[in-house]
Subunit: 371 residues, 2 copies
């Protein structure tokens, strides 16, 4: 890891504390978006836990990786499907929590490795799922910001996400570190962990350099969307996770009806709902499914929708009214770590433009304790 930069603040450190006394709307959320490059470097600092947990994967022949989480953590598992599949040739699934916990299905866990994601480590049904899976023979890995919480106590391996205390209700840096942890876990399991570490380090610096200009661009664009009530967000492959996460940020912080679709799913049906008052955020990334996104964006334009082109191949989308591109990634699989940031910044700017407080969406708390 490079150490030529000034020492970075410790988790939950100075930037947030300074604004606490005179907090303005959105300061916490924006502060945490900006903190993401440092959060990634903190994760890399503690990557021995990732290496150890990857051993649990390597020790089982042809394991099934069962990922679970709610909200942003669930969105991260959509990325995990590709991280484990592409980097390690493993089948990784977004498993159903309720099937095991509520319906008590008599499923075999002996070939499984569970990867449970929870910011707080206290989400009750995630904890119960891990207990049940472990009792039935699964290897269990917890990814959490709080290695002292229940989830860490019930899992065999604990990977501290090291994102630092998250004060804004809507997650950003935790999601970022969940993506990185999943990619590193898959890479270590496949024996390419060191290369992935280097790539994440490079990516963190690219992200740091890009944030100031992205902030400006997002703020300039957001004002046009103050009266928009709905939006589709599309991506495919690893970027479907990004589509889900950006849509969720827009729902939570901007009270928008923002729905994610894969590029192909959009063209299959929902394109019928589009018109000039129904914009589409398209994530175009230089990888194997770029063509499906280009096609879907063309269909959306044909339906009259306003197009916001994002991702590192945003320039490939013709007819976009707005562009908020992401920087290029050191490895195509890691592009989602960069593509999500324009969406986070857009959500921040749009919430402010609407007079909302993105730090504290109505009626939400930080931990899902509901059944």
């Amino acid at each position: 890891m490079s150490s030529s930069r000034p020492a970075r603040p410790a988790a939950g450190g100075a930037p947030c504390k300074q604004v606490a006394a005179t907090r303005e709307k959105g300061d916490l959320f924006l502060g945490e978006i900006r903190e993401q490059p440092d959060a990634l470097l903190r994760l890399l600092d503690g990557s021995e836990s990732l290496e150890r947990a990857a051993g649990a994967l390597a020790r089982r022949p042809r394991p099934l990786v069962r990922m679970i989480g709610h909200g942003s953590s669930d969105n991260a598992t959509s990325f995990g499907v590709y991280a484990f599949g592409v980097l390690a040739g493993l089948t990784a699934i977004r498993d159903s929590i309720s099937l095991a916990v509520y319906y008590g299905a008599d499923v075999d866990f002996r070939d499984s490795v569970v990867v449970a994601l929870s910011q707080s480590g206290r989400t009750p049904d995630v904890v119960r799922y891990v207990e049940r899976a472990r009792a039935r023979g699964a290897a269990t890995i917890a990814l959490t910001n709080d290695p002292g919480a229940d989830l860490a106590a019930v899992a065999e391996h604990v990977i501290p996400l090291a994102a630092g205390r998250e004060r804004a209700v809507a997650a950003t840096k935790t999601y970022m570190n969940e993506l990185a942890a999943l990619a590193l876990l898959a890479a270590f399991a496949a024996g390419h962990g060191e290369r992935a570490r280097t790539e994440v380090n490079t990516l963190a610096e690219a992200l740091r350099r890009s944030i100031p200009s992205l902030e400006q661009a997002a703020a300039a664009i957001a004002v046009s969307f103050v009266f928009v009530g709905r939006m589709f967000v599309i991506g495919r492959g690893p970027e479907f996770a990004t589509a889900r996460e950006i849509a969720l940020k827009l729902v939570e912080t901007c009270r928008l009806a923002a729905e994610p679709f894969t590029a192909t799913a959009l063209t299959h049906g929902p394109v019928a709902a589009l018109d000039p008052l129904f914009p589409v955020w398209a994530i175009a990334t230089n990888d194997e499914s770029l063509e499906t996104v280009v096609t879907a964006a063309r269909r959306a334009r044909k339906a009259g929708a306003t197009l916001i082109a994002s991702g590192n191949a945003a320039a490939q989308l013709r007819g976009a009214a707005y562009r908020l591109p992401a920087p290029g990634a050191p490895n195509p699989l890691l592009a989602p770590l960069l593509s999500v940031v324009p969406g986070q910044l857009f959500a921040h700017a749009l919430a402010l433009a609407k007079g909302l407080d993105p730090d504290r969406p109505a009626g939400l708390t930080k931990v899902t304790l509901a059944p």
Copy 2:
């Protein structure tokens, strides 16, 4: 199977043809919704193919069931996760088509049974996925309306859905028969096929009896929603598939921004977007996750949202402004076959109330040929 009713029309038979010359908006869509009890009975008539295909599942020790499909067929796979899990103790997943087809992930298919769902049997990447999986050692089962199409040619086992020709662009009877076929396949694999056949037969008759009054109720309620631009649809467990399918029908036929969430996901974040102009359709069903839906509906009401209570436990949801309950199911797992119908009828009625033609949503064709 009971034969006390008058002989039912053959697939794609009289009801649709009669209206073809003087079709009014929505006749095809409504005709196919009404035809669903007959479609189920046709599937039961040909259930030997289900029994044979279930043998492929039984012959593999602890198989991983990989389901794939787009649109409504993908929604049906959300139900399949529970059908295989609850009825047969098998892990069934909504597999990623793009991971195998576009990203070429080197995943092991030897322990897998692929269940590919496609109305037309011609969706290109579904066909390519099956070819690839079969070449790598998977057992392959195709569920399709057209046993003469490409998909049937590349799969080892073919289950004709027998839904009959679907003329409305938005699928209804195909989705219904996909759910039934998945439940029967799981039940046959577990050795309970005959019981499941009887239950589906009972269910078809319950559905037949309920449709006329549901049609009236849906039409009476729909007029209140003419100017609504967005909606959330919630369910959990097997009913998450229903939430996805109802939301998709509303997007396609009513141009609504309708997004499905599990009950728990709603309370985790999206509840923050709700207000009195943002209604919530809640599917409450008498099963193990009813409590989570009751809790989520209470949170939605607290946020001021207008509640439409549906499912066979609709009466459990306090404060609902509208109720469109589903009949009780002969087996809790089969409830989604009944819960989806009020949503289909509501979509039909709302599209008409908005002056739209639910038979032919703007810009859609019946087969997904896009990459």
